[in-house]
Amino acid sequence: MNIDLTLAIIVTLVSASTPILLAALGELVVEKSGVLNLGVEGMMLTGAVVGFAVTFTTGNPWVGILAAAFAGVAASMIFAFLTLSLSSNQVATGLALTIFGAGFSALFGQPYTGKPIELFKSIFPAELAAHPVFKVIFGYSPLVYFSLIMVVLVWWFLQKSRAGLILRAVGESDNSAHSIGYSVIGVRYGAVAFGGAMAGIAGSCFPLILTPQWVEGLTSGRGWIALALVVFAAWKPFRLLAGAYLFGLIATMELYAKAAGGPFRILPSEVWASLPYLATILVLVLISLRRTGHTSAPACLGKPFIPST
């Protein structure tokens, strides 16, 4: 395999991994606080359609990303209010959010179908960004660098900061955190909002980095894969980075299989298309095999908070 092809694969891989990485990072923080938000796919779709629409209307992708983040937060607040203030079933509410996000994005995106926008290209000077070799480092959209910075920030926040410690305490033992005086509900609201913002930005990656137009259901299940990745990464940000890029590699192979033909033709294209989803199942099986008995999930994950006083 020549160097050009390798570099091209790396560039595509990184871009393909970014939305999943962003969404999964957000969900990681949410789950660390003890909340299971299955609505990631819905929030991503909301972010994708709003990000697209605002970028199309204003011509400014930065504003588009900001709008996508806000949209994600707004969507997540519906979930937060239902599960945190009204103690509704988290699994069902997350599903409802996904269905809502799908419907909302389909409706909102209708007038924008088929209209193209500009890809959100690298902000580095063209000599570096388009350089045949250095493009591997400098050729990416700002969203990619943002995602990598966020991996470090999330890790630092959770492991090294006091606020992160409180968040983890809320996720591991909500009643203890409550008796010390921390607002469990407040912390979880914040975490869910962060998850919503990240999912919204992740959604905006689709029209801004990958395919510069809006199609219904643009995210095609990546939100669900992000959920699986959080489990795969055992709730650790750097493992999440590895998992996201592994997934990006598989997704990239599908693209190259379609284009390259040759030895890839032995399998029908539908098999390649199924590969990301089958790989996700495989990944889930592998982590279940790996774990001997105890799980590293936050102890209060998915349980509504009921103060025991």
């Binding site: 299955l38 599903l95 809502f100 029908p268 089958l278 889930l284």
Partner: protein, 360 residues
């Protein structure tokens, strides 16, 4: 005066039945407001989606046709959810069931006999069961979360459908269109009410729901499902195997979804096409919840959601409301149902300042 939430001594039965109605009613009100804000004709949308299918008698047969698969899948899911087993991949099991039935139909396309349709039905049920068996096995043996596995397989099932319909099963007579051969009369469901489009799927749905209600409320099996779902420890003391329950819950859900798939492909569709998946498997999740996980409630909830589907089509032609709007109404119903769930466990109380002082 302060409005407080006070926990009830025990969950309110009246609220259990009232909250779904409340959810639907609030959806209509909230939906009208939101859609008006978005620039559509809000009141018109609600009228066309919710009321016209009920008042226009021509639409009743559409309701029956749309409600049947929703009820069948919804019943299967409700049994599983009762046991705390979250099968989200009903859409995939529905597709595979339809494909299995199609396979039998294509293999017997040149034969005749009364046995073909039941064989297709069996194939549909077994196909759905086989497809859910993998997530079931992974859940029981390796504790892999069934939400993710069933969902991933749904995406895979769409690819399987596309492969078959664009490839080996493409009809030679279809001028290149990715569709299978049309099913023969022996392979299509009979029309139950002459002069309408209502086929055997509708009465089958009702029968399935009644059998399920009977099993869930009167049989030991139903007791097992409900106990494992609400009190797993007590269930273990009682000798109920959690693993067996998970298997049964998933197999029933998968089998019924597969049956619905067969009834759809042998009924309204009459052949397998790429447009076969129409989200019934996901809408059935809403049906199961709206029906309060009770098979009889699922019948009503299935009709309600069928109303939104039929109403959505009506609204598209009469006031130009995009079909996607229906999804928003359906999600809103689920949101509002989950939100009003709190009324089952808590009640609102007006507390006067004097009482507050006494408590403090």
């Amino acid at each position: 005066m302060q409005l407080r939430l006070e926990k009830r001594a025990e969950p309110s039965r009246t609220m259990l039945y009232v909250t779904p109605l409340l959810a639907v009613g609030l959806t209509m009100i909230l939906g009208a407001i939101i859609f008006s804000l978005m620039g559509f004709d809000g009141l018109g949308a609600v009228r066309e989606i919710f009321l016209t299918p009920l008042t226009n008698s021509l639409k009743w047969q559409d309701l029956a046709v749309k409600a049947a698969p929703l009820i069948i899948i919804g019943v299967g899911l409700s049994i599983g959810y009762r046991a705390n087993v979250w099968n989200i991949g009903a859409e995939g099991q529905y597709i595979i069931g339809g494909l299995a039935a199609t396979g039998v139909a294509l293999a017997t396309i040149n034969m005749t006999g009364w046995w073909i349709l039941p064989l297709m039905g069996l194939a549909g049920i077994l196909g759905g069961m086989a497809y859910v068996a993998v997530p079931a096995f992974l859940r029981v043996r390796l504790k892999v979360n069934e939400i993710l596995t069933t969902l991933m397989l749904t995406y895979v099932s769409v690819n399987i459908l596309n492969y078959l319909v664009f490839g080996p099963w493409k009809s030679a007579r279809s001028f290149g269109q990715p569709v299978t051969d049309r099913f023969t009369l022996d392979q299509t469901l009979p029309y139950i009410i002459p002069g309408t489009i209502v086929q055997a799927g509708a009465p089958i749905a009702i029968i399935v729901a009644i059998i399920a209600w009977f099993a869930m409320s009167k049989s030991v099996f139903g007791f097992q499902i409900r106990t494992v779902g609400t009190a797993p420890m007590a269930a273990r003391y009682g000798g109920f195997s959690a693993n067996q329950t998970i298997w049964l819950a998933l197999l029933i859900g998968g089998g019924l979804a597969g049956l619905a798939g067969m009834l759809e492909v042998a009924g309204p569709f009459g052949r397998m096409v790429p447009q076969f998946p129409n989200n019934y498997g996901f809408t059935a999740i809403i049906v199961a919840f709206l029906g309060r996980l009770n098979p009889l409630g699922v019948i009503l909830a299935g009709i309600v959601l069928a109303i939104t589907f039929v109403g959505g089509e009506v609204a598209q032609t009469t006031i130009g409301l995009p079909n996607a709007a229906v999804g928003i109404f359906q999600a809103m119903m689920l949101f509002l149902l989950l939100a009003s769930d709190i009324l089952v466990r808590y009640k609102f109380k007006l507390v006067s300042p004097q009482k507050l002082e006494r408590i403090a």
